[in-house]
Amino acid sequence: MLLTEKDAREITDKLLSYVKADDATVNVGSENYSHLRFAANSFTTSGARENTTIGVTVWIDKKRGSSSTNEMDDESLRATVAQAEQLARISPVDREYLPTLGPQTYRPVNGYAEGTSNISLQNRARAINDVIAGCEKAGVIGAGFHQARGSAGASATKNGNFNYARSSLVSLSTTARTPDGTSSGYFLRNHFDVAKLDSKRVAREAIRKALDSRQPKTLPPGTYPAILEPQAVADLLSGFAFGFDARNADEGRSPFSLPGGKTKVGQQIFDERINIYSDPWNPELPGSQAAQGGIPAEKIYLVRNGVLENLIYSRFWAKQKDKQPTPGPVNNIMESSRPASALEDMIKATDRGILLGRFWYIRGVDPRTALQTGLTRDGIWYIENGKIKHPVTNFRFNQSLIQLLAPGNVEMIGASERVGSSEAQGGSSALLPALKVKEFHFTSASEAV
């Protein structure tokens, strides 16, 4: 059972009543989670978890200690507070301590659906059976993952703030492979409302990609023009908005740093059509009502018309630098200032290039340029004279994200849609467009399918 606001307040009040420390923040979170996995066209694992956890952070003479537990009896709660206080007493002074927030006003967001939190076992089994049946009918082998989560929780401070919120998330991914293992397709979508998760589309697209990827040809690695579908953009950039840290930039260890301790704020770093922002109230991608440190979230731009407008100041770093703490980001939205291009038009506008739908095993290589390495996976095609010519075997890439979005490299931008990173298994969400770029750096071939 998820906590109601009343339940949550009772727990945070109780925790705060046990606190003897100078300052404290306490939180409680409850979760209903369930999953169903399938592979080789058959169900593999399926399970559920119900949990409630409390966390306590206290400061005594600016010394900090934290403790958490999931045992909810009064004695355990009291002992957890006492443990945080014991840890604080023996810790050195927290030089980054700032008093916790007093009462704040939050503008609520709507990111919770009851049907997601309490998923129907029968409906889910039927929906996934339909996915498998579609794979069988098409002669492909399906594997995939359905998960649904409802969360409700609150945080409260000794200085009087209280923040309760609920959210939910459902995702479905499907990988279809031809039985000979030479071709593979993948599709993933998520939403907070299970009624808006189109499981048929997920299956249809995964199967289509597997069938369209048969008999791929090998191309030499190198720099190609490329069209990245929204999933591929999500795999590269779904966490991008969260990397605009001001402290790292000021300290000279970020792609947004300039020599001499300066930053690139105010500079044109990306194509002039690109906007990257966070908006807690976006109806398709609701964010959290509270940003870092519990401050009420607001809509904020990180990049507007290609110009780096804001870096993210934590409460501590803002105080050091005499700035306001940044009320976000709480979600990641990238969109074009101009009318969006359809994927078909991007293909038509390509003389020679690569179309791809998923990246895999992406890891940072050089933080100075946000250089990432990884591989293409589950569907990649060669385009010639405005038409898809043939599927291609996979590549490894080494690509700077800064160069990817740089002025001159971005040719066309699609309509933004809700996608989740495949490496995060659909657990992360962003609104991202397809991108047509002039140069994408493929550095070696991969035989993997």
């Binding site: 066209n41 169900f43 978890r49 952070t57 050195p92 030089r95 300290e251 740093s257 298994q425």
Partner: protein, 527 residues
């Protein structure tokens, strides 16, 4: 690399640890431990197991297990002269797994009471039943003997009995040492400890208690050049181990962080590598990760059966290659081992009651066996579970996870310098860096922490911007030299991810220093 570090890791890898019982509770933490102890005493795990297993049997399952587990974690993080975080967490709950009409069902809760165990067991069966209506291939398990046992991992000093003050002082001392080097601007260090107290009972009649300790210390030293805007970070070579607080006390952390500071400053000024083919001499602090990704993962049978196709991926090792494929050069033997002392994946029994084992995956370079569990065993040639089932929490369903997988040292007493002496143009790599590998484990790219040029058999100056790319079997077959037992060290990962929903597994990989011929090296500095 100091001799003392080598000696320590070598000893850690092969010596049996002294098993210690938790000592008396220290005064500073007595209140919460007392409550935990009271809660534990109030929970009759055997009685709860009877409720779960009897309820499941009545509902018609062919197999059921219950795990009632407590997890404790402690994390201390520092940066330069300040402590950033001191936290302790604990987590208690149970999970019931059932096999009903060849379909798995699992449910779990934090509320460890008889009524909740009954409700959750019914829920696990409900989940299995709803899915079984559409089940196509029924899951089967191989049998395992009934086990009633208690097991404790090999640690000398329980880190949860050591005061926080000692731990903080050690970390701050490390930071101070690193900052002594001119050009080092930032340093962070941390230590984390994990304790698992696991109880398992099944319809096979098994009842097993296990107590496991793991340590995860690390540091990162950053050198910057503010005038050019250049910066780089070096991380610790010492990584997580299946050890207690003795790891913090005996490992030469101070000399290693001092060396890391000097190396970071030197690397900032080092020559950028010229891309091309090089011979590589790879130190165990680096090679463990290449083993993990390109030997550990492709020999997982579930991957070969496409059970992980949607996320982690499949494997280039198909079942027809077993016993035939020359995976690596003939001098190489890779052994899976859940009995290895101080291994991160070392246990007494896996999460379905199968005893820990040691077996060859690659013998004389040939791929000879898989990692298996009871529900995979019927699809393996010898129908045997090697005990690889694991769940990272009471709230996670158990599934196949990697055991410790280690490259055996060469028989001769070959040293690092002996291997270097046979290289005209090469690179010596220490430490794990950036890593990435495809979903079938063919193509990989690895960075490192420090890179030294090798020229005409001698170690030369430092290089930077190095990563190597290769294909798994080409790479392992290009190995023509293995260090002897004296060069053997154990590295590992504290949080290896796999599965949907993603779960974490801790796993160790031991290896000697090794030499590889003609590997493709690229320059990672984007122009």
């Amino acid at each position: 690399m100091t001799t003392s570090r080598r000696d320590f890791i070598k000893t850690a890898g092969i010596a049996a640890g002294v098993v210690a019982l938790p000592s008396a509770l220290p005064a500073w933490i007595s209140e919460v431990d007392a409550v935990e102890a009271a809660t534990a005493a109030a929970v009759d795990k055997n009685a709860l197991a009877d409720i779960a297993l009897n309820t499941a049997r009545r509902l018609g399952v062919t197999y059921a297990d219950i795990r009632i587990n407590r997890y404790r974690n402690e994390q201390i993080s520092t940066r330069e002269k300040q402590v950033q975080n001191v936290s302790r967490s604990q987590n208690f709950g149970f999970g019931v797994r059932v096999l009903f009409k060849g379909t798995w069902g699992f449910a779990s809760s934090r509320d460890v009471t008889p009524a909740e165990v009954r409700r959750i067991t019914r829920q696990a069966v409900d989940i299995a039943r709803a899915n079984s209506v559409y089940q196509r291939k029924r899951i089967t398990m191989v049998p395992t003997p009934r086990i009633v046992a208690t097991w404790k991992s090999a640690f000398e000093k329980d880190p949860f009995d050591v005061g926080i003050d000692d731990k903080i002082q050690l970390l701050l001392k490390l930071n101070e040492r690193a900052l002594k080097t001119n050009g080092v601007s930032f340093v962070s260090s941390s230590m984390g400890f994990a304790n698992e107290q696991k109880f398992y009972a099944s319809t096979d009649g098994s009842r097993i208690d296990q107590y496991i300790i793991r340590a995860n210390p690390q540091f990162s030293v950053t050198a910057t050049n503010r005038s050019t805007g250049d910066f780089l970070a070096l991380n610790s070579l010492g990584g997580p181990q299946g050890m207690g607080y003795e790891y913090m006390e005996k490992y030469p952390w101070l000399s290693e962080i001092e060396q890391a500071g000097e190396n970071a400053v030197a690397k900032l000024k080092a020559k950028s590598v010229e891309p091309g083919k090089y011979d590589l001499v790879l130190h165990p602090s680096h090679l463990w990760l290449t083993i993990h990704e390109s030997v550990g993962h492709p020999t997982e049978l579930d991957r070969s059966l496409w059970w992980e196709a949607d996320y982690a991926g499949t494997s280039f090792l198909t079942r027809d290659k077993l016993g035939k494929l020359q995976f690596a050069s003939k001098i190489m033997n890779f052994v899976a081992d859940r009995t290895q002392p101080v291994g991160l994946a070392t246990v007494g029994y896996d999460d379905e009651g199968v005893p820990a084992q040691r077996w060859h995956l690659i013998k004389d370079g040939v791929f000879v066996d898989w990692q298996t569990t009871r529900d995979l065993a019927n699809m393996s040639p010898n129908k045997k579970s090697y005990g690889c089932l694991h769940a990272d929490s009471w709230g996670s369903i158990s599934f196949p996870r990697m055991p410790n997988v280690s490259l055996q040292p060469g028989k001769e007493n070959t040293s690092l310098n002996d291997l270097v002496a046979g290289v005209e143009k090469g690179i010596l790599i220490h430490g794990d860096g950036s890593y990435s590998i495809d979903q079938q484990r063919y193509n990989f790219q690895f960075g490192g922490q420090t890179f030294h040029e090798i020229k005409n058999g001698k170690i030369g100056p430092m290089l930077r911007d190095v990563a190597y790319q290769s294909r798994t079997t080409d790479f392992w077959n290009s190995c023509d030299g293995l260090g002897g037992p004296a060069t053997y060290e154990v590295g590992g990962s504290f949080n290896d991810g796999k599965g949907e929903p993603g779960q974490s597994n801790a796993v160790s990989h031991g290896c000697p220093v090794a030499r590889f011929r003609g590997v493709n090296v690229l320059n990672t500095a984007a122009k």
